[in-house]
Symmetry: C2
Subunit: 375 residues, 2 copies
């Protein structure tokens, strides 16, 4: 297929995670092949691009928070290096994130989130309704309170994917546009991937980065990865509407509005347990539009340019699967759930480190599949 | 352009109206050329296909109502003849139309509409909330009342357009895919059309059927036709959801749900005065989805497959412009506003009659441009 014999590494999946692993591994001197029949058309295509560990902080997920904070800190240099390597921008925005609430319950949730953030030593500032609107004047006057997190940023996920594809190729990564049918193995050790066309790509190590599809691949041990459907909208005409990301609790329902390339605004996302159903539904689109317009009334005038449904790779504890698996030669880089874009730099780095040196960095140790073995 | 010399008639505009005129005129033995750079991509593409003169009946528009009733009566034979000529279906549905209301004001509006319909001798039946829901079990239990009109039907407007194009060609109509730049004239008499490419198509008579674009064409006297923007949605997965068309007043706002080909449901439509703005807006889509889901909750689960904005050709009295204009040789078939699909058969017939015999049928006499001359 590649015409170059056996690679050190074959990566199944050319989304953000797969390409990041491939690029960083190639920079460490490994020969890498990525296999994907349509790179970047999975969750990477839908993602809003929030880099928001602080506003996503949740009780009982401290290890995940540490990983996310490490990755968000890595994003500026990762973005700069990637833009340099690819010669194209990735749309990193550092205007911060504002979380707003509408009713008494929403405000209580903001207070709880803020208390938790302070307890963890995270930088976040509780704002009065008027201070909230001074920060984002397009917000409805009905906002009851806000929480400003200056360190939660965003990138243009699609621009990142384009850049990763270019940078990976420039670093020598081969990209094979076929679908992976199975992980092949000999004597219990992974030896490559089999393609739907019948060919086999052999490699010293196989990296599984198929997102929501990682769970059901032939030749892979059972993995607790399930598809979590998200519907998301893209609007045009939003230049100047918002300074940074706005996340809102609208009577208990979550919505986020992320300014993006040119005049775009990304509005997301539903969270649905429907298997691999990619239907954009009337109800999903309605709820997103309703909540976004309620938060920022000017959204009503924007052009609806795209609706999309994809699947987050969900896991039982919302954290990714990183590092070795129960099959020798098979390495995991999947299960990133809501944090795929955010964790792209750290995933690339820790998996490349493992591939190049055989050692998984300490930071990633809590995220091996081992944690599910005795459940 | 056509290579056949001068035609009897050149029709500017290949939407439903232009093609109906062309087809019926060709059947009367006239040589006809239709000019349109993209036939059927104007209002014809958006239209929901309601044939609903009774549920649309409005005070002070009796002449228009007569025209509409004459056309709806003509639809079954027109559809049969068209399907025979084209060899393809047009999706005529005769399951009737149900108008429903939600609050006291809506119910009062239903009562007024019903009283007016009875006064005009139209067939319509007021229903209790439970009788309304027996007729369409998918309706929300919150419906406060209904009005059943068995004679208001629907067709698949796009299927009608496809069939008209085939039937017109089979009858000898030439279709020239270019944009009309102007109506040409000599000594004050229309002599053909000039195309944006520079060519001229000469004809004995020019028929203006450019819908919302009829008002501003060079070489045409000022016409009171303005674009009235409508946004409309198409949903999939609706097989069996509704028996016939449902029109609703949702706290004063109008929405309609029209079952269409296969498993489709058309939901429309906004009415906006924004010139030739074709933007599908977040607010427009939201309002349509909101009202449709409120009327039929099951709509929430349907797939949103298409959003579209086009322009109705509006006139000051909501009635079309039919027949001779102030320019000899220039005949009008435009300004159909909300009634384009409904009036397709009668427009084709009365204009063909005028072209073939020089006489405009009595029924169409109230709709010449003359009525605006002394305003």
């Amino acid at each position: 297929m590649t015409g170059t014999g056996q690679a050190d590494v074959v990566v199944a999946g050319g989304g953000l995670i797969g390409l990041s692993v491939a690029w960083r591994s190639a920079l460490r001197g490994l020969s890498v092949t990525v296999v994907d029949d349509d790179p970047g058309r999975g969750a990477s295509e839908a993602a809003a691009g929030m880099l928001a560990p602080v506003t996503e902080a949740a009780y009982g997920e401290q290890a995940l928070l540490r990983l996310c904070l490490a990755s968000v800190q890595r994003w500026p240099s990762f973005a700069a290096e990637l833009e340099e390597a690819a010669g194209s921008p990735v749309g990193l925005r550092t205007a911060g994130t504002l979380v707003v609430g509408f009713d008494a319950d929403d405000v209580r949730a903001l207070d709880e989130l803020h208390a938790y953030q302070l307890e963890l030593g995270l930088a976040a500032q509780r704002l009065t309704p008027s201070a909230t609107r001074r920060r984002e004047p397009s917000l409805t006057p009905r906002v009851r309170g806000g929480l400003a997190v200056d360190g939660d940023h965003s990138v243009d996920g699609r621009a990142v994917h384009r850049a990763l594809l270019t940078a990976a190729r420039a670093a020598g990564v081969q990209v094979v546009r076929e679908r992976v049918a199975a992980v092949g193995s000999t004597g219990g050790r992974a030896t490559g991937v089999e393609l739907v066309g019948g060919a086999t790509l052999r490699a010293g190590t196989v990296v599984l980065a198929l997102g929501a599809h990682s769970g059901g691949l032939a030749g892979v041990p059972p993995l607790p990865v399930r598809p979590v459907k998200g519907q998301i909208l893209r609007l045009a005409g939003a230049a100047g509407l918002l300074e940074g990301t706005v996340r809102a609790l609208v009577r208990g329902r979550h919505v986020y509005l992320v300014p993006c390339a040119e005049d775009r605004l990304v509005v997301g996302a539903t969270t649905e347990d429907r298997g691999f159903d990619a239907t954009v539904t009337a109800g999903g689109v309605h709820d997103l539009l309703h909540d976004a317009i309620e938060v920022v009334p000017g959204v009503s005038e924007l052009e609806l340019v795209e609706t999309l449904a994809r699947w987050r790779p969900g896991t039982a504890d919302n954290a990714p699967l990183l590092g070795p698996s129960s099959v020798p030669g098979l390495v995991l880089a999947t299960g990133h759930h809501r944090n795929g874009v955010l964790l792209t730099p750290i995933t690339g780095d820790v998996v490349a480190e493992l591939l190049a040196t055989g050692r998984l960095p300490e930071l990633a140790a809590p995220f091996t599949a081992e944690r599910f073995a005795h459940r």
